[in-house]
């Protein structure tokens, strides 16, 4: 029981150190720094220029669909890297599995295309 837990003790120490580091730094800064806020200082930082408009903008909902599709096919690429590295040892079996994965995603791509998710208007 004791043996099983001990390898994780360094992790515990790391967590404690990480938390302590943050807390202590903030605490010291809070004790040492002067406190003199004024309105320009509190305004959102925009490279020294006066803010042009409020930060909350209305975005077109179209971006949402584009982002979703991008995420999907980006993740596909992530899955392909480990397979590409192990291409030889995995052999035909790996190739077929990956082909199935790509085919399923391809169906999704055709579906998105047919449904007009790639059109802007």
């Amino acid at each position: 029981m004791y043996q099983a837990i001990s390898p994780y003790v360094p992790v515990l120490i790391l967590i404690l150190l990480a938390v302590l580091f943050g807390v202590v730094t903030l605490l010291i800064a809070w004790l040492v720094r002067p406190n003199a806020p004024y309105s320009e200082k509190l305004s959102p930082y925009e490279c020294g220029v006066e803010p042009l408009q409020p930060g909350k903008l209305r975005m077109s909902i179209r971006f949402f669909v584009i982002v979703l599709l991008f995420l999907l096919f980006d993740v596909e690429a992530v899955f392909m890297y480990p397979w590409a590295v192990m291409y030889k040892p995995l052999g035909w079996w790996g190739f077929i599995e990956m082909a199935l994965f790509v085919i399923i995603l391809f169906v999704g791509y055709i579906y998105a295309w047919l449904k007009g998710a790639l059109e802007w208007e």
């Binding site: 040892p89 579906y111 047919l114 449904k115």
Partner: protein, 486 residues
């Protein structure tokens, strides 16, 4: 570099043919849906109906086979096969009642049937898996389509609300489930049920696993809608499209209970007294709160939601009995519950007409005069839900109660019987409204044919298998033999 692959065996692909077929049908519906003109969208539904029939017969040929493959993660046995058969029967009826309903709600899209198919694939994986990670993947594959289905009437505020509530609860609870898996892995060094049981056999009881057992019950408890996690059920059931409610209240619930049963029976076998105590408490609370709260509801969908919470309590009794009769009675109860509960929701769909959802108690007022056959059929379903002979509900309850009796849970049995009596009151509130009150003059009933077929099919099944339960009992006995009696 390649020697770590040397020990890997080629998995037995034949084990997952039903899953692959379901997946292909789902993708096919997605692909041909854009080419179908708007008036003929029903074709998608017919493809799904045909798909479930094909899947039923393909899976039927697996009955009696026993395959464990994919590195001990996936198993085809009589239990998982009969669960899959159950999914196809229930989904067939759900598609049947959806056909006309979606047109009425003006959201007749092919995606509905594709999502139904994908959720079914998730559930099939869930009941077949012998590994906690596989359970989780199946659970998520099932849950994500369900969130979308709950919000399927896009322009309806309540539908969107119910989808969001379902999503938030589901995500939260699946986090808990994952934590349970992590603790199990931390304590035993494996997520495979075989390895967990082996580890606990050699090393004895580990207190971390007590926590893991509770967390896994919590994680599956959302779909089961058992008591600490039942709050989403009434809101989601009320807001979601009625056909989806009929689906959510039956099929995912059964899948989650079947998964819980397998995890506890095959993974945590040596913890039986412990999880029996946990489930005892949960089952008692689920029955009491579900049945008592249902009494004060005046919306039929909400009432049926609480009644389905209560039925989850009865089904948990089947797990905690931990004997052969418990499993076989549970499998029987799954079928019984699907006939009567989908039937009751189908009646709500039957009452759907212009501007009337059909889920208020007033909508049932005087139905016996307007449509005597529909009223009679509804009474059959209500009798069955309350557990009155000669219906499937009676046989199911009788079997489950005798399993609990055999295991010696006398007080739980007392609670179950008392709450069943309470349930008679609120079921008969609907019956009284139909027979003893005068009808209000409003829109005439539409009486769509596909819903009629579904309702009569379910009513016939409810009565026939109540009088002659042998065919389902044989299937149930076969699946119980997976866990007991070699």
């Amino acid at each position: 570099m390649s020697n770590f692959l040397a020990g890997i065996q080629f998995p037995d692909i034949t084990a997952i043919i039903p899953e692959v077929i379901a997946l292909i049908i789902g993708c096919l519906i997605l692909l041909i849906d854009p080419f179908i003109p708007k008036q003929k969208k029903r074709l998608n539904g017919y493809i799904a109906l045909f798909g479930f029939v094909v899947l039923f017969f393909v899976t039927l040929s697996y009955l009696g086979k026993s395959i464990v493959t994919f590195f001990d993660m996936f198993s085809v046995d009589n239990f998982s096969t009969s669960m899959k058969l159950f999914f196809f029967v229930a989904n067939f009826v759900v598609v049947l009642i959806s056909l006309r309903y979606l047109e009425m709600e003006d959201s007749n899209l092919g995606e509905y049937y594709a999502l139904l198919m994908f959720a079914t694939v998730g559930m099939m994986v869930m009941v077949s898996s012998k590994d906690l990670i596989m359970f989780y993947i199946g659970l998520e594959t099932m849950a994500i389509p369900l969130y979308v289905l709950a919000g399927f009437i896009r322009m309806n505020e309540r539908s969107a609300e119910s989808a969001l509530k379902y999503l938030l609860m589901g995500v939260f609870v699946s986090g808990i489930f994952l934590y349970g898996i992590a603790l199990t892995y931390g304590a035993t060094g494996s997520t495979k049920l075989v390895d967990i049981v082996r580890f606990t056999y050699i090393n004895g009881v580990n207190p971390i696993l007590f926590v893991a057992i509770i967390l896994i019950a919590c994680g599956l408890g959302l779909e089961i809608a058992m008591v600490p996690f039942h709050f989403w059920a009434p809101d989601v059931y009320e807001g979601a499209p009625t056909s989806v409610t009929a689906f959510i209240s039956v099929v995912p619930k059964v899948a989650a209970i079947a998964a819980l049963l397998r995890v506890y029976f095959e993974g945590f076998t040596f913890f039986a007294p412990y999880w029996q105590t946990v489930l005892w408490l949960l089952s008692a609370l689920t029955m009491i709160i579900g049945n008592v709260t249902a009494v004060v509801q005046d919306n039929v969908k909400r009432m049926l939601a609480y009644s389905s919470v209560a039925h989850a309590g009865y089904m948990l009794m089947g797990i905690l009995s931990f004997n052969e009769l418990g499993v076989s009675s549970l499998v029987y109860y799954f079928f019984a519950y699907s006939f009567m509960n989908i039937g009751a929701f189908a009646l709500v769909i039957y009452l759907r007409r212009k501007n009337i959802v059909g889920d208020r108690l007033e909508d049932f007022r005087g139905l016996a005069q307007k449509d005597p056959i529909a009223a009679l059929v509804m009474v059959v379903f209500l009798l069955s839900l309350a557990g009155v002979p000669p219906t499937v509900g009676f046989v199911g309850k009788f079997l489950i109660f005798s399993a609990a009796l055999k295991a010696g849970f006398y007080w739980l049995l007392v609670i179950a019987v008392v709450t069943s009596v309470i349930s008679l009151y609120y079921y008969f509130k609907i019956a009284r409204s139909m027979y003893l009150e005068e009808p209000v003059a409003d829109e005439p009933l539409l009486q769509p044919l596909s819903v009629k077929i579904a309702i009569f099919l379910l009513a016939i099944l409810t009565v026939v298998f109540g009088v002659y339960p042998t065919p389902i009992m044989n299937l149930a006995d076969l699946s119980a033999k997976v866990f007991f009696g070699y």
